[in-house]
Symmetry: D2
């Protein structure tokens, strides 16, 4: 297979840098184009970008000349790491211009004809694309991945779907990298907890229902599960933790649930997509896990780790989940979406 | 009023040091006796103690010669900051020997004839003392204060009691000082969250029911409210945060609830006890508060701060509470208990 | 004595907030005026200011209407907490307009006729004021305090001056509050060290020579001591640490040096100025002190703590110093400067 | 080449775990034996060990049955990760019993016939082995690597050796993982700096002289360079930073020095040893680097990163260096030592 050239919209920001790093050495995709604001356009990537990730900027992208976020020169498949303040219009222009926009931005996630995709959970939602193209007269398309904390929650909930999820409580402890750069001021978070992240609780509540919903007659019927989220920022660099309680319609044993978690698989695992972790959700038996510093990077950051499954005095069961917000919650999520789309023939 | 001489059992440990600091300059109590293990007994406090709190060891205690934890030389009123591994027997011996033991240790908290006291909430539980003395044939007594995270939760719940608390979810983010010294290893908590604190969730669930219960026929009838706790350790020095959701029998407006919180008062406020904060629970309007570094020390560490009151999609309402685990959750709690007991005549 | 009304230029920023808090309850000064940018002018302080310090905004300033930074309505004595980007002109206008500008900004520090004042060390440099007023035709004046890391170093060096300081190495570990708000991004400093603070090393090298210099013929002759600084940012909220090595002309014993440190006093101590700590430099014997979290707040943040005095294999001796960057290194420094000036008759 | 079986003395501790992880997939060495204290002996490694590193315990070691630290069953080549309190005798017994002991412990480092080896710098010191064996009548041998902060300093100094190093100042900011587990209490280091690490300054001063010395007549003649170290603990997980100033006999330009750093190579690079980084010391041009979180893991943790080379007002030049204390400063250092010994025929 010849490598598929891809681009990144918003390539110089933090999420853009995560795309650059995650795509390094990708077996299918070759990063060939980087779009950014006027201020950066025309410069080489290494001059336009203050690299903030661990390690050095990959050498193969250093001399790519950054383009404006316009459709002319961009490859057909573009990832969007754009800031929400500009993503709405630019993503639409690209989709209209025939591009496949695989977006991490929140702007189009909740639109009824836009898939909010977690390939292990709702690959079938790609069925919305035909409707999206018809509705909008686009040759291209927009596909989105969820908010970084929603991914962790929904990946942990997905193995429980067969038992009938009725209500969900989720309290998050989220890493600062989720807020981009400069993001959270150190004076706000050192030795502190900030019990507020703008818009995050609504996203977790609504996105979860859409992701876990099913496609029917060209529409996603949201899972009719009430979700209550409390979102907190903690002094962690990477890795979101979710402490959850769940009510289930059926009453499985804890053993059945642990087995369901460990055996959970989706289409990416069946198709052996390049970025698909062998086991998308891993249950740890240790009583003090998962922890962000020790577990967020599991399987290249694409696996969600669950632990502490136990009975809940109010609902049915409690557990803790942890995932990498910048990988499974952003760049890696979008790349896995694109891999699924390639394997389903959307690029043919 | 002549100062009342008091002692501290376990005076060289971290909680003991908090007692020493909190009692500095106390208008009623004079710290005159410090008990510790054999290893420390006979040494001057300054030689027996590695002082770990901010600032220096108060000069007036430096030369007190540390005693063994035996009843002979101790004042009638002793605070217990002993480790749970030794507290059971020693506290009993002191109570049997006629001492008033005001304990921060967990050992006797859940015994049916021992008050688990939060003076603003359940001052009446001191009625158990008569039963305790009769049951056990003691001249002295044991009174306890709750676990450091339970205090924060119950102080935040107390103003809601009139509305009928039916179910409670509480996810904590707890400071490392709650684990004593050396306590949490830095390798476990730097840039990390540890979603487990041994025994803490059970304590929060059971202690809350006892504290909010009512005394009837010489027994505490626990509040029949199911409480579900998830306890996490975060990289904070002092100050526990609790993210809570609550179901109420009545359906007050958010305004009514904010008013109830700000107007909540208890016996310590009526009696103007020396350590009683003027307003025991303060509601902050800012959307990103309370925070441990900015709010835990409010009113000398004795006030619990609440914020983010809002509707909950699953139960009725959500909020965040924060309090100082080492003061309102330990040394300050016990001292306020003792002040209440003095004012109620238990020392006469 | 009737209270002296004072103002703060740049009152809504982080340093401005430290002035507001430090001046709370001041026995001589009454904060009556707060100046800020156009964006804030006309609003009440509580509406113009996102209060970021621990605890709440003092109630007595909440309703002060913020003024523009113009001379009309301001009291004669104004503290400047302005950002360096605007301080040059505004401070000059105030001085020209007859105001006594006691500035924490760096802009005028190194001008030859502006005192760079640490009252315990070089109170005599106030002799420059007469020259400043003559040179510039001002009725008012500008007096400055040093950079926050320079203060810690010079306070620790001052007791060694009688022994002839010949060379100084200083490596700093500086708190994030030294960079203002939002200042250091949490992604840069959590679990990290940033070995660079723009301009800081030059400031430490040059300011130290000026502060320790002597006034002669209307000029400050800098101490001809070579100073080499390496400045690092660490994950600390408040309190700068300086690890220093010093070569001395005379060869005192370590005991003599410890005595010199503990007995060091200056004019503020003789005059018992309100903000003067009883002992401006304290030597701690513990081998692992000073530490910012435990020592920076000593004596209301105005005392510098020194420890670990020992021989140096390359120069003569090594030690560690620690002080509160936002108090002794900013707001408290300026207030002490103003107290000295009042007591020396500059306001008469 | 058939894999060489190796063992780890002290395999269950933190440094032992780093050996286990570093040896995973090693092309020459197969980890076949793990020794630990009586308490662990007889248990499978997974049952004897609380794994504390990021990620999971490698599956291939989980079922190895831990042995006592006795010579009987151990492979000829053993790495020592033993605590200093027990290493002296056990390492001697192993060397006497014919084993090649490649030790990370400090116990034998400064003995005159024991190589203190950094393969890029002083591979020739292996010449001491013949003398060691003769002196002691051993068939086996002990070879050591330096203290974790010394490695960072000496790797940064090695490229400067041709210019004649005359004096060195080194102030460290060291990660908590350097202190093992539980090591530094979180209450001591959160939001704090501890300016003391027991014994560390002496080690840095003495070990540096030995490492940079030359072998002559069967003895290491230490480099006659005075070294002054100040060691501090900071809130970093992995990666030590050293801020250094150096006086040189020759006066190279900064450009010459940067070139010397980037072009520095040693025997491990010539021999392409498996763990040898292609470039052992990397100079970064960015003004705010190196930083532990971004640079310590460079080249699998085996490269030391240098930056901020500039003139020093007191000596000749200043720079900052950073390296991974647990890899280049411990497990990786010892493995590289063993690789060098294999390639030099010590195992034949």
């Amino acid at each position: 297979m010849r490598p598929i050239e891809v681009g990144v919209l918003g390539g110089t920001g933090m999420v853009g840098q995560h795309f650059v790093r995650f795509l390094q050495g990708h077996p299918w995709f070759k990063l060939a184009w980087l779009g950014a604001s006027d201020r950066s356009a025309g410069k080489r990537y290494k001059d336009a970008t203050a690299w903030r990730l661990e390690g050095d900027m990959p050498s193969e992208v250093q001399d790519i000349v950054v383009a404006e976020c316009k459709t002319g020169s961009a490859p057909r498949l573009v990832f969007s790491a754009m800031d929400a303040s500009v993503a709405t219009e630019i993503e639409r222009e690209f989709a209209q211009g025939g591009h496949i926009v695989v977006s991490n931005s929140r702007n189009h996630r909740m639109e009824t004809d836009v898939p909010l995709l977690v390939p292990e959970i709702n690959a079938g939602h790609l069925g919305l694309i035909r409707i999206q193209q018809r509705n909008r007269g686009w040759k291209g398309m927009i596909v989105t991945n969820p908010n970084c904390s929603t991914v962790v929650l929904t990946m942990a909930l997905a193995p429980l779907l067969p038992f009938g999820i009725e209500r969900v409580f989720a309290t998050t402890m989220q890493a600062v990298s989720g807020a981009g750069y400069p993001g959270v001021a150190s004076l706000d978070i050192l030795g502190n907890v900030v019990p507020f992240i703008g818009g995050e609780e609504d996203k977790m509540q609504q996105e979860t229902q859409k992701i876990l919903g099913h496609l029917s007659d060209g529409k996603v019927i949201p899972l009719p599960t009430r979700v209550s989220a409390q979102c907190n920022r903690v002094a962690v660099t990477d890795g979101h933790v979710v402490a959850a309680s769940v009510a289930l319609a059926k009453k499985p044993s804890l053993d059945q649930l642990r087995t369901a978690i460990n055996e959970f698989k989706g289409l990416p695992q069946q198709k052996k997509l390049p970025s698909a972790p062998a086991q998308p959700v891993v249950y740890l038996e240790q009583q003090d896990r998962p922890q962000p510093r020790r577990d967020a990077a599991r399987d290249n950051g694409m696996t969600v780790t669950v632990g502490r499954l136990r009975e809940c005095p109010v609902l049915d069961l409690k557990f803790v989940a942890c995932g990498h917000n910048a990988i499974r919650g952003a760049a890696g999520a979008a790349v896995l979406n694109a891999e699924l789309m390639v394997s389903e023939g959307f690029l043919d």
